[in-house]
Symmetry: C2
Subunit: 184 residues, 2 copies
Amino acid sequence: MRIYLAGPDVFLPDAVAMGRRKTALCANYGHVGLYPLDSGIDIAAPDASLDIFRANQAMMDSADAVVANLTPFRGPSADAGTVYELGYMAGRGKLCLGYSNDPEIYADRVRKLNLTSPDTASFDLDGLAVEDFRHADNLMIVHALEDHGGPLIVPREAPADLWHDLTSFEDCLRMLNTMKGHAR
Amino acid sequence: MRIYLAGPDVFLPDAVAMGRRKTALCANYGHVGLYPLDSGIDIAAPDASLDIFRANQAMMDSADAVVANLTPFRGPSADAGTVYELGYMAGRGKLCLGYSNDPEIYADRVRKLNLTSPDTASFDLDGLAVEDFRHADNLMIVHALEDHGGPLIVPREAPADLWHDLTSFEDCLRMLNTMKGHAR
Protein backbone atom coordinates (compact mmCIF):
# COMPACT_ATOMS: atom_id res chain seq x y z
CA MET A 1 0.00 0.00 0.00
CA ARG A 2 1.13 3.56 -0.65
CA ILE A 3 0.85 5.52 2.59
CA TYR A 4 0.91 9.32 2.75
CA LEU A 5 2.83 10.36 5.88
CA ALA A 6 1.01 13.48 7.09
CA GLY A 7 2.28 15.39 10.09
CA PRO A 8 4.24 18.36 11.39
CA ASP A 9 7.32 16.10 11.30
CA VAL A 10 8.33 18.10 8.22
CA PHE A 11 8.96 21.08 10.54
CA LEU A 12 11.42 19.19 12.77
CA PRO A 13 15.07 20.26 12.64
CA ASP A 14 15.80 16.63 11.66
CA ALA A 15 12.82 16.41 9.31
CA VAL A 16 14.69 14.47 6.63
CA ALA A 17 15.94 11.86 9.10
CA MET A 18 12.41 11.50 10.50
CA GLY A 19 11.13 10.85 6.98
CA ARG A 20 13.74 8.11 6.56
CA ARG A 21 12.72 6.49 9.85
CA LYS A 22 9.03 6.57 8.90
CA THR A 23 9.49 5.24 5.36
CA ALA A 24 11.81 2.49 6.69
CA LEU A 25 9.10 1.43 9.16
CA CYS A 26 6.53 1.43 6.33
CA ALA A 27 8.83 -0.85 4.32
CA ASN A 28 9.11 -3.20 7.33
CA TYR A 29 5.34 -3.62 7.19
CA GLY A 30 5.29 -4.11 3.42
CA HIS A 31 4.25 -0.58 2.44
CA VAL A 32 5.64 2.42 0.59
CA GLY A 33 5.74 5.54 2.74
CA LEU A 34 5.26 8.84 0.92
CA TYR A 35 6.87 11.67 2.86
CA PRO A 36 6.04 15.24 1.76
CA LEU A 37 9.66 16.44 1.90
CA ASP A 38 10.61 13.81 -0.67
CA SER A 39 8.95 15.86 -3.42
CA GLY A 40 12.21 17.80 -3.56
CA ILE A 41 10.63 21.25 -3.82
CA ASP A 42 13.08 24.15 -3.63
CA ILE A 43 11.63 26.12 -0.73
CA ALA A 44 13.53 29.22 -1.83
CA ALA A 45 11.76 29.26 -5.25
CA PRO A 46 9.27 32.13 -5.79
CA ASP A 47 6.24 29.79 -5.95
CA ALA A 48 7.58 27.35 -3.36
CA SER A 49 4.45 27.42 -1.25
CA LEU A 50 2.13 26.63 -4.16
CA ASP A 51 4.58 24.02 -5.44
CA ILE A 52 4.54 22.30 -2.04
CA PHE A 53 0.74 22.31 -1.99
CA ARG A 54 0.54 20.79 -5.46
CA ALA A 55 3.22 18.19 -4.75
CA ASN A 56 1.49 17.20 -1.49
CA GLN A 57 -1.89 16.97 -3.20
CA ALA A 58 -0.46 14.85 -6.02
CA MET A 59 1.24 12.62 -3.45
CA MET A 60 -2.05 12.22 -1.57
CA ASP A 61 -3.91 11.45 -4.80
CA SER A 62 -1.37 8.73 -5.54
CA ALA A 63 -1.67 7.17 -2.07
CA ASP A 64 -4.05 4.47 -0.82
CA ALA A 65 -3.95 5.53 2.80
CA VAL A 66 -2.81 8.23 5.20
CA VAL A 67 -1.16 7.88 8.58
CA ALA A 68 -1.47 11.28 10.25
CA ASN A 69 0.60 12.54 13.18
CA LEU A 70 -2.10 14.34 15.16
CA THR A 71 0.02 15.24 18.19
CA PRO A 72 -1.16 18.68 19.41
CA PHE A 73 0.76 21.45 17.69
CA ARG A 74 1.08 25.06 18.96
CA GLY A 75 -2.20 24.79 20.82
CA PRO A 76 -4.74 22.23 21.99
CA SER A 77 -5.37 20.62 18.57
CA ALA A 78 -3.40 18.90 15.84
CA ASP A 79 -1.45 20.77 13.14
CA ALA A 80 -3.87 22.51 10.74
CA GLY A 81 -2.05 21.32 7.61
CA THR A 82 -2.18 17.72 8.80
CA VAL A 83 -5.87 17.98 9.69
CA TYR A 84 -6.61 19.44 6.26
CA GLU A 85 -4.82 16.48 4.68
CA LEU A 86 -6.71 13.98 6.84
CA GLY A 87 -9.99 15.54 5.68
CA TYR A 88 -8.86 15.52 2.07
CA MET A 89 -7.94 11.83 2.23
CA ALA A 90 -11.25 10.95 3.91
CA GLY A 91 -13.09 12.90 1.21
CA ARG A 92 -11.17 10.99 -1.47
CA GLY A 93 -12.25 7.70 0.10
CA LYS A 94 -8.75 6.68 1.21
CA LEU A 95 -8.01 4.65 4.31
CA CYS A 96 -7.37 7.02 7.23
CA LEU A 97 -5.25 6.24 10.28
CA GLY A 98 -3.80 8.58 12.83
CA TYR A 99 -1.98 8.81 16.13
CA SER A 100 -1.24 11.41 18.75
CA ASN A 101 1.65 11.18 21.18
CA ASP A 102 -0.35 13.13 23.76
CA PRO A 103 -3.01 10.94 25.39
CA GLU A 104 -4.64 13.84 27.25
CA ILE A 105 -8.30 14.75 26.73
CA TYR A 106 -8.91 17.84 24.57
CA ALA A 107 -10.95 19.77 27.15
CA ASP A 108 -8.35 19.13 29.85
CA ARG A 109 -5.60 20.35 27.52
CA VAL A 110 -7.51 23.56 26.80
CA ARG A 111 -7.75 24.14 30.55
CA LYS A 112 -4.07 23.38 31.18
CA LEU A 113 -3.06 25.79 28.42
CA ASN A 114 -4.98 28.50 30.34
CA LEU A 115 -7.33 28.98 27.42
CA THR A 116 -10.51 28.60 29.47
CA SER A 117 -12.54 31.40 31.00
CA PRO A 118 -11.62 32.25 34.62
CA ASP A 119 -15.32 31.67 35.47
CA THR A 120 -15.88 28.25 33.94
CA ALA A 121 -13.85 25.61 32.12
CA SER A 122 -16.84 25.04 29.81
CA PHE A 123 -16.02 28.20 27.85
CA ASP A 124 -12.82 29.63 26.46
CA LEU A 125 -11.38 33.12 26.86
CA ASP A 126 -13.47 34.36 23.91
CA GLY A 127 -16.66 32.89 25.38
CA LEU A 128 -16.91 29.97 22.95
CA ALA A 129 -17.92 26.58 24.35
CA VAL A 130 -15.18 23.99 24.89
CA GLU A 131 -16.29 20.75 23.23
CA ASP A 132 -15.98 17.98 25.79
CA PHE A 133 -16.84 14.47 24.72
CA ARG A 134 -13.65 13.20 26.47
CA HIS A 135 -11.93 12.84 23.11
CA ALA A 136 -8.27 13.64 22.44
CA ASP A 137 -9.24 16.27 19.84
CA ASN A 138 -12.20 17.69 17.93
CA LEU A 139 -14.91 15.09 17.35
CA MET A 140 -14.69 15.40 13.55
CA ILE A 141 -11.09 14.15 13.64
CA VAL A 142 -11.73 11.35 16.12
CA HIS A 143 -14.81 9.94 14.38
CA ALA A 144 -13.42 10.48 10.88
CA LEU A 145 -10.64 8.05 11.76
CA GLU A 146 -13.13 5.48 13.08
CA ASP A 147 -15.37 5.89 10.02
CA HIS A 148 -12.68 6.03 7.34
CA GLY A 149 -10.01 3.73 8.79
CA GLY A 150 -9.22 2.91 12.39
CA PRO A 151 -9.51 4.67 15.77
CA LEU A 152 -6.97 7.30 16.83
CA ILE A 153 -3.99 5.64 18.47
CA VAL A 154 -2.61 7.26 21.62
CA PRO A 155 -0.04 5.92 24.08
CA ARG A 156 -1.04 5.26 27.69
CA GLU A 157 1.44 7.94 28.74
CA ALA A 158 3.09 10.63 26.66
CA PRO A 159 6.55 9.44 25.53
CA ALA A 160 9.64 11.29 26.73
CA ASP A 161 10.21 12.67 23.23
CA LEU A 162 6.83 13.80 21.88
CA TRP A 163 8.19 14.58 18.43
CA HIS A 164 10.47 11.62 17.79
CA ASP A 165 8.79 8.63 19.42
CA LEU A 166 7.33 6.39 16.70
CA THR A 167 5.70 3.69 18.86
CA SER A 168 2.16 4.88 18.07
CA PHE A 169 3.07 5.47 14.43
CA GLU A 170 4.18 1.85 14.24
CA ASP A 171 0.93 0.79 15.95
CA CYS A 172 -0.91 2.47 13.04
CA LEU A 173 1.04 0.37 10.54
CA ARG A 174 0.24 -2.76 12.55
CA MET A 175 -3.45 -1.79 12.58
CA LEU A 176 -3.35 -1.13 8.85
CA ASN A 177 -2.07 -4.65 8.24
CA THR A 178 -4.96 -6.18 10.17
CA MET A 179 -7.30 -4.27 7.84
CA LYS A 180 -5.78 -5.30 4.52
CA GLY A 181 -8.44 -6.09 2.01
CA HIS A 182 -10.62 -3.45 3.66
CA ALA A 183 -12.41 -1.72 0.79
CA ARG A 184 -14.57 1.35 0.85
CA MET B 1 -26.46 26.00 -4.42
CA ARG B 2 -26.39 24.13 -1.11
CA ILE B 3 -23.61 25.58 1.04
CA TYR B 4 -22.20 23.84 4.11
CA LEU B 5 -21.46 26.48 6.75
CA ALA B 6 -18.30 25.22 8.48
CA GLY B 7 -16.85 27.09 11.42
CA PRO B 8 -16.47 27.33 15.17
CA ASP B 9 -19.62 29.49 15.13
CA VAL B 10 -21.40 26.45 16.57
CA PHE B 11 -19.47 27.01 19.81
CA LEU B 12 -20.71 30.61 20.25
CA PRO B 13 -23.10 31.30 23.12
CA ASP B 14 -25.51 32.60 20.46
CA ALA B 15 -24.71 29.78 18.02
CA VAL B 16 -28.33 29.33 16.92
CA ALA B 17 -28.79 33.02 16.16
CA MET B 18 -25.51 33.01 14.20
CA GLY B 19 -26.81 30.12 12.13
CA ARG B 20 -29.96 32.08 11.35
CA ARG B 21 -27.92 35.11 10.28
CA LYS B 22 -25.70 32.99 8.02
CA THR B 23 -28.54 31.04 6.40
CA ALA B 24 -30.48 34.30 5.87
CA LEU B 25 -27.45 35.79 4.08
CA CYS B 26 -27.17 32.64 1.95
CA ALA B 27 -30.83 33.02 0.98
CA ASN B 28 -30.19 36.66 0.00
CA TYR B 29 -27.63 35.39 -2.50
CA GLY B 30 -29.91 32.65 -3.82
CA HIS B 31 -28.42 29.76 -1.86
CA VAL B 32 -29.42 27.31 0.84
CA GLY B 33 -27.14 27.47 3.88
CA LEU B 34 -26.62 24.22 5.77
CA TYR B 35 -25.71 24.91 9.38
CA PRO B 36 -24.41 21.96 11.45
CA LEU B 37 -26.58 22.79 14.48
CA ASP B 38 -29.70 22.43 12.34
CA SER B 39 -29.29 18.64 12.36
CA GLY B 40 -31.09 18.74 15.70
CA ILE B 41 -28.81 16.24 17.47
CA ASP B 42 -29.46 15.83 21.20
CA ILE B 43 -26.02 16.61 22.62
CA ALA B 44 -26.95 14.87 25.87
CA ALA B 45 -27.57 11.53 24.09
CA PRO B 46 -25.00 8.76 24.79
CA ASP B 47 -23.72 8.71 21.19
CA ALA B 48 -24.09 12.45 20.64
CA SER B 49 -20.54 12.95 19.43
CA LEU B 50 -20.78 10.20 16.78
CA ASP B 51 -24.28 11.39 15.83
CA ILE B 52 -22.91 14.91 15.26
CA PHE B 53 -20.07 13.56 13.10
CA ARG B 54 -22.47 11.51 10.99
CA ALA B 55 -24.96 14.35 10.62
CA ASN B 56 -22.20 16.78 9.63
CA GLN B 57 -20.75 14.33 7.14
CA ALA B 58 -24.19 13.68 5.60
CA MET B 59 -24.78 17.43 5.41
CA MET B 60 -21.41 17.92 3.68
CA ASP B 61 -22.16 15.10 1.25
CA SER B 62 -25.45 16.79 0.38
CA ALA B 63 -23.81 20.20 -0.21
CA ASP B 64 -22.32 21.66 -3.38
CA ALA B 65 -19.94 24.03 -1.63
CA VAL B 66 -18.44 24.96 1.72
CA VAL B 67 -17.86 28.41 3.18
CA ALA B 68 -15.47 27.90 6.10
CA ASN B 69 -14.87 30.32 8.96
CA LEU B 70 -11.09 30.00 9.32
CA THR B 71 -10.61 32.71 11.96
CA PRO B 72 -7.81 31.53 14.30
CA PHE B 73 -9.21 29.49 17.16
CA ARG B 74 -7.41 28.81 20.48
CA GLY B 75 -4.05 29.21 18.83
CA PRO B 76 -2.42 30.50 15.67
CA SER B 77 -4.49 28.38 13.22
CA ALA B 78 -8.12 27.81 12.33
CA ASP B 79 -10.41 25.45 14.27
CA ALA B 80 -9.37 21.83 13.71
CA GLY B 81 -12.92 20.61 13.06
CA THR B 82 -13.43 23.28 10.42
CA VAL B 83 -10.10 22.53 8.75
CA TYR B 84 -10.99 18.83 8.66
CA GLU B 85 -14.28 19.71 6.96
CA LEU B 86 -12.55 21.97 4.43
CA GLY B 87 -10.23 19.10 3.53
CA TYR B 88 -13.13 16.68 3.28
CA MET B 89 -15.04 18.98 0.94
CA ALA B 90 -11.95 19.55 -1.23
CA GLY B 91 -11.45 15.79 -1.39
CA ARG B 92 -15.07 15.31 -2.45
CA GLY B 93 -14.57 17.81 -5.28
CA LYS B 94 -16.88 20.46 -3.82
CA LEU B 95 -16.39 24.18 -4.27
CA CYS B 96 -14.35 25.53 -1.33
CA LEU B 97 -14.47 29.08 -0.02
CA GLY B 98 -13.26 30.45 3.27
CA TYR B 99 -12.64 33.57 5.27
CA SER B 100 -10.75 34.60 8.36
CA ASN B 101 -11.60 37.68 10.39
CA ASP B 102 -7.95 38.01 11.41
CA PRO B 103 -5.83 39.44 8.58
CA GLU B 104 -2.53 38.85 10.37
CA ILE B 105 0.20 36.68 8.90
CA TYR B 106 0.55 33.22 10.48
CA ALA B 107 4.23 33.55 11.43
CA ASP B 108 3.58 36.95 13.06
CA ARG B 109 0.68 35.48 15.01
CA VAL B 110 2.85 32.62 16.29
CA ARG B 111 5.35 35.20 17.50
CA LYS B 112 2.71 37.43 19.16
CA LEU B 113 1.28 34.39 20.96
CA ASN B 114 4.77 33.87 22.45
CA LEU B 115 5.02 30.47 20.81
CA THR B 116 8.40 31.12 19.19
CA SER B 117 11.77 30.20 20.60
CA PRO B 118 13.46 32.96 22.66
CA ASP B 119 16.45 32.59 20.31
CA THR B 120 14.76 32.90 16.92
CA ALA B 121 11.27 33.50 15.56
CA SER B 122 11.97 30.89 12.87
CA PHE B 123 11.41 28.06 15.35
CA ASP B 124 8.75 27.42 17.97
CA LEU B 125 9.19 26.51 21.63
CA ASP B 126 9.49 22.82 20.71
CA GLY B 127 12.17 23.57 18.10
CA LEU B 128 9.92 23.01 15.08
CA ALA B 129 10.24 25.44 12.16
CA VAL B 130 7.58 28.14 11.81
CA GLU B 131 6.28 28.04 8.22
CA ASP B 132 6.51 31.56 6.85
CA PHE B 133 5.27 32.17 3.33
CA ARG B 134 3.46 35.32 4.57
CA HIS B 135 0.14 33.47 4.46
CA ALA B 136 -2.68 33.86 7.01
CA ASP B 137 -2.49 30.15 7.90
CA ASN B 138 -0.85 26.87 6.89
CA LEU B 139 -0.12 26.72 3.14
CA MET B 140 -2.31 23.67 2.61
CA ILE B 141 -5.38 25.65 3.70
CA VAL B 142 -4.51 28.77 1.73
CA HIS B 143 -3.74 27.00 -1.55
CA ALA B 144 -6.57 24.47 -1.17
CA LEU B 145 -9.00 27.38 -1.30
CA GLU B 146 -7.33 28.81 -4.41
CA ASP B 147 -7.28 25.40 -6.09
CA HIS B 148 -10.75 24.20 -5.11
CA GLY B 149 -12.71 27.44 -5.06
CA GLY B 150 -11.54 30.98 -4.37
CA PRO B 151 -8.77 32.64 -2.35
CA LEU B 152 -9.08 33.08 1.41
CA ILE B 153 -10.97 36.28 2.18
CA VAL B 154 -9.62 38.44 5.01
CA PRO B 155 -10.59 41.98 5.99
CA ARG B 156 -8.05 44.79 5.76
CA GLU B 157 -8.31 45.19 9.53
CA ALA B 158 -9.75 42.79 12.09
CA PRO B 159 -13.37 43.76 12.84
CA ALA B 160 -14.31 44.89 16.35
CA ASP B 161 -16.22 41.66 16.91
CA LEU B 162 -14.09 38.82 15.57
CA TRP B 163 -16.77 36.17 16.14
CA HIS B 164 -19.89 37.99 14.93
CA ASP B 165 -18.79 40.14 12.01
CA LEU B 166 -20.07 38.59 8.78
CA THR B 167 -18.61 41.05 6.24
CA SER B 168 -16.00 38.58 4.98
CA PHE B 169 -18.54 35.74 5.09
CA GLU B 170 -20.78 37.80 2.82
CA ASP B 171 -17.79 38.49 0.55
CA CYS B 172 -17.48 34.71 0.15
CA LEU B 173 -21.11 34.49 -1.00
CA ARG B 174 -20.51 37.33 -3.42
CA MET B 175 -17.42 35.56 -4.77
CA LEU B 176 -19.37 32.32 -5.09
CA ASN B 177 -21.93 34.06 -7.27
CA THR B 178 -19.25 35.29 -9.64
CA MET B 179 -18.16 31.65 -10.03
CA LYS B 180 -21.50 30.09 -10.81
CA GLY B 181 -21.25 27.55 -13.50
CA HIS B 182 -17.78 26.73 -12.23
CA ALA B 183 -17.45 22.98 -12.56
CA ARG B 184 -14.69 20.69 -11.39
